[in-house]
């Protein structure tokens, strides 16, 4: 059975070619703490844009400003061509937010949660009801429509939060860590749903600290660290620019890594020492591994893999993404 699409096509009132979101010198401060430190970016219509970074990098603060829930401290921000400071309500009526923490009413039913949310946008009940049926189907929650939210699994709650954000048929969907805390199966299902939305032309802005999520879902990425954008490009271009084609991972057991690291330095153009392993950056992983063996080193385990955004992040910030 083909899945019903929750919407026919995205109709934006924005002129063609006009970016969905523009940030120039954007700053967010909490007292003396600078959460977002003078960042610039543009998000095009229909684009899927990611903010990748560890906890505390300023992703959520940036998202909350785009969602017009948090005032801009300094710089310029335009969402749908409008200024959040003066047109917050107008912008919020045309965007959908999936916050980091679910804000569902746990004691009401799945359907009630959609009905209530639709009423905030002043949609007629009949319209919400129609959309709710399609959205519940889309979110694979149809059979739970009349169940309370409380006992649902984390993945179901997340899907409901996304369905709820789609009730108003937003032009821009903002997702703050949509899959954090979910098991792999639930994550893959969510990714599939987000991919469908993207294909329907919904502009997506996603924060995540999962590099696989960023690689799968995002056309372009801003790598954020300590409130700044360290680099911005397509996932492939970021990897090409900031990493080698392949990476050799070597594990020498507790205490062994540091000693070997000093000796292997120079074998490859870049080498990283992590608490549990060494990373050798090389365009020819197998060749490098042979070289390591020929030099008489026998790691407890070794792995040749292609470079990922994790390596990009390590290169740009000197730290791992998920610690």
């Amino acid at each position: 059975m083909p899945l019903p699409e929750p919407r026919s096509a995205v109709t934006s009132t924005l002129p063609v070619g006009e970016p969905m979101v523009v940030a120039r010198g954007l700053v967010k401060k909490f007292g003396d703490f600078v959460a977002v430190d003078t960042i610039d970016f543009e998000i095009a219509q229909g684009e899927s844009y990611g903010l990748l970074g560890p906890n505390g990098a300023g992703k959520t603060s940036t998202m909350r400003m785009i969602a017009c829930m948090s005032p801009v401290t300094d710089g310029t921000l335009r969402v749908l061509g409008l200024d959040p400071a003066t047109d917050g309500a107008k912008i919020r009526s045309r965007i959908g937010l999936v916050p980091q923490e679910d804000t569902l009413d746990l004691e009401l039913t799945v359907l009630d949660n959609l009905m209530i949310y639709g009423r905030y946008f002043d949609l007629p009940r009949r319209v919400i009801r129609e959309r709710a049926d399609a959205l519940l189907e889309f979110s694979q929650l149809s059979d739970r429509a009349h169940d309370k939210v409380e006992p649902l699994s984390g993945g179901m709650k997340r899907r409901l939060t996304i369905a709820r954000a789609l009730v108003s048929e937003p032009e821009l969907l903002i997702l703050d860590e949509p899959t954090t805390g979910l098991d792999p199966q639930a994550r893959h299902l969510l990714w599939d749903r987000l991919y469908r939305l993207k294909q329907q032309g919904v502009t997506l802005v996603i924060t995540t600290h999962y590099m696989d999520e960023a690689e799968q879902l995002c056309d372009r990425l801003a790598v954020m660290d300590r409130g700044r954008v360290a680099a911005e490009d397509t996932p492939a271009a970021l990897i090409a620019r900031y990493s080698t084609r392949e990476v050799v991972e070597l594990r020498f057991g507790p205490g062994g890594n540091d000693a070997v690291a000093a000796e292997l330095d120079g074998l490859v153009e870049r080498l990283e020492v992590l608490p549990d392993r060494l990373l050798l950056y090389s365009d020819d992983g197998d060749g490098t591994l042979d070289e390591v063996h020929r030099l008489g080193y026998h790691p407890e385990s070794s792995l040749v893999r292609r470079s990922t955004l994790e390596d990009v992040f390590l290169r740009l910030t000197g730290r791992s993404l998920v610690e």
């Binding site: 969602a67 107008k90 009526s93 569902l104 004691e107 009401l108 209530i116 905030y120 946008f121 319209v127």
Partner: protein, 265 residues
């Protein structure tokens, strides 16, 4: 033929937020309405009729009326205080901390003032229902002696709001519910007992009378009593009403500030 949505007048933002509270009430309305009927019957029977017969036997009248006639409007105002206070404590904290309902609303076109107004409008509706039921039961007990008694409903709502607005302001500043028990213990319970609900304030020692006169429940009780007994005194009653309106307005201004501080960061 469907009507295009654009021809429908837009629902005001505060009314959309009120919609949430109406919606969630369908979960608890049965118990809540039953309580609204049961409490007045229990209180008026036990204290009004039961204890009242002792009082009447000894003193014949209190404030020159039967004890139950004196007591009932006082209890009505005290109930309004309790409902107004309760509805502004845990539900406000829950909407910030537990369910995060306010944050869900703020991601939509609603703003902070809409969220606050909607919640206060809901409390006012609850108070209307509770005081309306109270008045009906008072009438059954024969304690409403004037057509002005109907105005005791808006007077009761106003009494409740004079508590709800400032308490909502307070609740939005709290990180846990410890402050609420203090508010009950040192605020609402003493007010319930000493604001002229059960006996005239004139029975209190002089200095305590001055304190009682300054508390909001005293004014709510006095206003409701004047209306159900039909003992109107334009000047005095206007002072009572003005006091309650002023407290509601100040409470609202404070709540707007504390809601902004808590919800918009």
């Amino acid at each position: 033929m469907t009507v295009p949505t654009s021809t429908r007048p837009a629902t005001p933002m505060w009314a959309r937020s009120l919609g949430y509270w109406l919606y969630q009430y369908k979960r608890t309305w049965r118990g809540s309405i039953t309580t609204s009927f049961l409490y007045p019957v229990l209180y008026l029977s036990a204290i009004g009729v039961g204890l009242g017969s002792l009082v009447n036997h000894h003193a014949h009248t209190v404030d020159s009326v039967k004890y139950i006639d004196f007591l009932a409007p006082g209890l009505m105002a005290a109930t309004a205080m309790q409902i107004g206070g309760n509805e502004a404590m845990y539900p406000v904290m829950g909407a910030i901390k537990w369910m995060k309902t306010y944050f869900a609303m703020l991601a939509t076109p609603l703003g902070v003032v809409d969220v606050l107004l909607g919640h206060l409008a809901w409390i006012a509706l609850r108070l209307t229902a509770v005081t309306g039921i109270y008045l009906a039961i008072m009438a059954l007990f024969g304690t409403v002696h004037s057509p002005f008694g109907l105005l005791a409903v808006p007077a009761g709502v106003l009494t409740g709001m004079a508590f709800a607005a400032p308490i909502a302001a307070f609740a939005a500043t709290q990180v846990n519910d410890a402050g609420f028990s203090a508010l009950y213990r040192f605020g609402m319970i003493p007010l319930f007992l000493f604001s002229g609900t059960f006996f005239p304030v004139s029975q209190l020692p002089g200095w305590l009378q001055i304190v009682a006169d300054a508390t909001p429940l005293y004014h709510g009780v006095a206003l409701c009593r004047a209306l159900t007994l039909g003992r109107l005194d334009a000047g005095g009653d206007l002072v009572h009403a003005a006091y309650l309106v002023a407290l509601t307005a100040v409470g609202f201004a404070l709540a707007r500030r504390s809601f902004r501080r808590r919800l918009v960061t």
